[in-house]
């Protein structure tokens, strides 16, 4: 199909779809006018039943915790798949790599190093804070995990590539990711061992507004934080490793130098 025919075909299809789209859009409930029975029910009962104030976390980790289990492993699958596809061609490197031949090492300014060192540690700390406060304020293990791993990425800026590789061991990151996700699944099995349905709370719920309220949700949240931090760090590692493959231009640069 030539590009013109393709666009024509697409335009015709859109032409047919447009009136239907308008028709459906006009029949939807007005903005803010529809009843949302689920949200009301959770808001009414959540704090009483689960002793937490962040209802999003209550839904994610408890009322619909089983969805999050699936999503956790979806992330694990995506990261594993990406790692497989990226690693495949170049294999996995265990040792800390040497400098790519012919690529000039540019000195980083002290300001960058200082800022990255300061920001790196604070970012990791902030990520832990966000993950810990999942039950009381907006945030949670997923968000916190992403922040922690982006803090780890600042190690690259502060210490250069070799420093980054010395700090990041792929087997440790894999273990962090895999065991975090497994921890979530094990929470469900723990409930079953206690004779309860999968993922039903088995720990004391704690006091409302307390950092450690929420029972089993806390453990699940920790599992998510580990899995996400490990998973994203694996991604960063693999993508940065891609830049180490000798590009076609490298040799020429060497000649010029």
């Amino acid at each position: 199909m030539s590009p013109r025919v393709r666009v024509l075909l697409f335009a015709l299809a859109v032409l047919c779809l447009a009136p239907a789209f308008a028709h459906v859009a006009l029949h939807l409930p007005r903005f803010g006018a529809h009843p949302l029975p689920y949200g009301d029910a959770i808001n009414a009962a959540g704090t009483r039943e689960r002793h937490v104030t962040n209802m999003v976390s209550a839904v994610n980790f408890d009322y619909r915790g089983f969805d999050t289990l699936g999503e956790e492993f979806m992330l694990l699958g995506a990261v594993t798949g990406t790692a497989t596809l990226l690693r495949g061609t170049r294999g996995e490197r265990k040792e800390v790599p040497q400098q790519v031949p012919g690529r000039p090492v540019r000195a980083r300014s002290d300001a960058v190093v200082l800022v990255a060192r300061l920001m790196g540690t604070t970012t990791v700390l902030f990520g832990v804070y966000v993950a810990l406060h999942a039950m009381t304020t907006p945030g949670g293990g997923f968000q916190g995990g992403v922040i922690v791993s982006s803090g780890l990425l600042l190690v690259f800026l502060a210490e250069g590539y070799r420093g980054w590789r010395r700090a990041m061991r792929s087997e440790i990151l894999d273990a962090c990711e895999g065991s975090g996700a497994t921890l979530y699944a094990l929470c469900g099995f723990a409930s079953m061992l206690a004779g309860l349905p999968f993922l039903q709370n088995i720990l004391p719920l704690g006091k409302v507004k307390d950092l450690f309220a929420g029972g089993l949700m806390l453990v699940e949240n920790a599992g998510v934080a580990f899995a996400v931090a490990g998973g994203f760090a694996v991604l960063f590692l693999e993508f940065l490793e891609e830049t180490r493959v000798e590009a076609d231009g490298d040799d020429e640069e060497e000649k010029e130098a």
């Binding site: 239907a20 689920y38 492993f73 699944a185």
Partner: protein
């Protein structure tokens, strides 16, 4: 079962493989070499047993399991439920069995460090089983995505350029499908305010003429039909199946595609049963799409020389027959679809394994290039020839039992055109596979000179396994597809009845369970269709192999009659992802026009 009551089983076949996958990833580097293989096979077998036990335990009333113990309050589902019915559970058992066979087939094939292949396969399996058991629309989407994500990575596993291109087409098209599903979920949640299937069904029945409900169905169905590879959403399939490693293609064709169609069946009967517009759409548009897929897939299969691509098109064709069974919207059609799904999965799985054996033992997959070279692996040739006959509709086994039911429904509803399309699909796919078997394993057909030596992609899979190890799962799958068809028909009849009359009020705790209404089972009178189809397929494959021996004028006429139309059809399957996206838009527009 005294050790484990059937009531606590529902989470196990899903959460168990997930937990093991996580552990394998965490410990992958430290495990002995063959450990991941053994663990994955054992997990698949365990999941198969659990699903089969649940299927037997749910024969009279569905097993309802609320995660976290959140039972519905006044009809409002607070948490997520699994409602295990015989149809879903038997499907789960079939999937797990197919995985076990595939993992055995792939024994030692994926030796890479970290056991990544096994992790992805276990995630893939868990996603598919969860998809079959769940009773919550968003949860369905979660398992659908898990299955897609692992499938994308597995497709590109071989890391050749064409593998990555096929994987990319697959990813783009299926991700658009996922977005459509998500859009559909959003629309119907906005309208009805629930995600549980039973609650949605009540809500849909309360808004019968609502355009948003019909639009939600259109979006959900398009997404699932993309996975189910129906015309015009089918283009990705042949690209992806042709390049994926053979063990992965076994799963794709054997189970993943048909699971998408099972999803449509579940939504059709549990959620949208109360909407006349949707029922009309199913009975007209989906029926047409199924018939078109059956015919187009069959004709395209006949035109291929790359054996895996040929099998991929035959999957499109047979998935079309499945959709026809579903869209006929009666007990015969649906129960026929369920049996046909199992039979086709087993047969097509075995055929892809034969393709894998060809890649490993003969070092190629090109039908013309391998002419006559397959003699030394003749057992594989026997399976392929027999599989071709089964695809064509030879009257034995599960495929035939399913087809007879679908045929009965088509005859009752006087669907002449659809019957012709189904017949075309069966004849063409059967003939194509028979032709390959004849050419590669016997050496029939003309020596075509230049064409035979034309450069094809260098394709080869690792040849480190003995032939018997690869043949074992292949033969088991074919043998399974031949036995128990009478019992399967009875079970599917009951399973279809339970699927068509879900007891939503009882699931939501609004009423006590009522006894299931199952019409008395009656054997299907045998029809002439299988005999005609098999005969025609054998004749057509003979024609394809020996057309050069026909009188010259006849041969030229055959060439001229089939040439241009087939060329145009072939040109549509361009491999360009932009084209595919345009066709998805066309498919959506069809929903509007219908």
């Amino acid at each position: 079962m005294t050790v484990l009551p059937v009531g606590v089983m529902p989470p196990l076949p899903v959460a168990g493989p997930l937990a093991v996958a996580g552990l394998l990833l965490a410990t992958g580097t430290r495990l002995p070499r063959r450990m991941p293989d053994v663990v994955a096979i054992l997990v698949a077998l365990a999941a198969c047993v659990l699903c089969a036990l649940m299927a037997m335990g749910s024969a009279h009333a569905p097993l309802v399991y609320w995660f976290g113990g959140w039972e519905p309050r006044h009809g409002l589902a607070i948490g997520i439920g699994f409602v295990v019915s015989p149809a879903g559970a038997w499907l789960g058992a079939f999937i797990a069995l197919l995985f076990a066979a595939t993992l055995l087939f792939a024994w030692g094939y994926f030796d890479a460090v970290h056991a990544h292949f096994h992790v992805l396969m276990l995630l893939f399996m868990a996603g598919m089983i969860g998809f079959c058991l769940t009773h919550d629309l968003f949860n369905l989407f979660v398992w659908f995505e898990l299955m897609s994500v692992s499938a994308f990575a597995l497709t590109g596993y071989a890391l050749r350029t064409d593998a990555l291109e096929g994987a990319l087409n697959f990813t783009v098209v299926n991700t658009i499908g996922s977005y459509l599903i998500l859009g559909g979920i959003g629309l119907i949640y906005l309208e009805v305010g629930a995600l549980d299937f039973s609650a949605l069904g009540r809500g849909v029945a309360a808004h019968p003429g609502d355009p948003a409900v019909a639009a939600a169905f259109a979006l959900l169905a398009s997404g699932l039909l993309t996975k189910g590879a129906q015309v015009p959403f089918h283009f990705w399939l042949s690209d992806a199946h042709a390049v994926a490693p053979s063990p992965v293609s076994v799963i794709f064709s054997g189970a993943m595609v048909s699971i998408g169609l099972y999803g449509v069946a579940v939504l059709d009967w549990t959620v949208f049963a109360g909407s006349a517009v949707v029922q009309h759409l199913v009975h007209t548009l989906l029926l047409g799409m199924g018939a078109a897929s059956a015919a187009v897939g069959g004709v395209m299969a006949l035109m291929q020389r790359h054996v895996k691509r040929l099998l991929a098109f035959s999957t499109i064709s047979h998935a079309g027959i499945l959709l026809v069974g579903l869209a006929l919207s009666d007990g015969n059609g649906l129960s026929g679809m369920l049996v046909y799904l199992l039979g086709h999965g087993l047969v097509k799985g075995a055929l892809f394994m034969v393709a894998g054996i060809m890649l490993a033992s003969l070092g190629g997959i090109d039908e013309l290039g391998l002419r006559g070279q397959g003699r030394r692996i003749w057992p594989a040739g026997l399976v392929m020839g027999f599989g071709g006959l089964l695809l064509a509709g030879m009257p034995v086994g599960l495929m035939d039992t399913g087809l007879e039911r679908i045929e009965l429904a088509m005859r009752d509803q006087h669907q002449i055109v659809v019957r012709v399309a189904v017949l075309t699909g069966m004849v063409c796919t059967g003939a194509a596979v028979l032709r390959v078997a004849g050419r590669v394993f016997v050496g029939w057909g003309p020596v075509s000179g230049e064409e035979e030596c034309s450069p094809t992609d260098e394709e080869r899979e690792k040849a480190d396994r003995p032939l018997w190890l690869m043949m074992l799962p292949t033969v088991v799958l074919v043998a399974l597809s031949l036995c128990g068809s009478h019992d399967a028909d009875r079970i599917a009849w009951r399973a279809a009845a339970l699927l068509m009359h879900p007891d939503g009020e009882a699931i939501l705790g609004l009423a006590t369970a009522r006894p299931a209404v199952v019409a008395p089972w009656a054997a299907v009178p045998g029809s002439w269709l299988p005999w005609v189809a098999t005969g025609l397929a054998v004749a057509l494959s003979g024609l394809e192999l020996f057309w050069h021996r026909l009188p010259r004028s006849l041969a030229r006429g055959y060439d001229r009659a089939s040439g241009p139309a087939l060329g145009a059809l072939g040109a549509l399957h361009s491999g360009l992802v932009g084209d595919y996206v345009a066709w998805i838009a066309v498919g959506l527009a069809l929903f509007v026009l219908a």
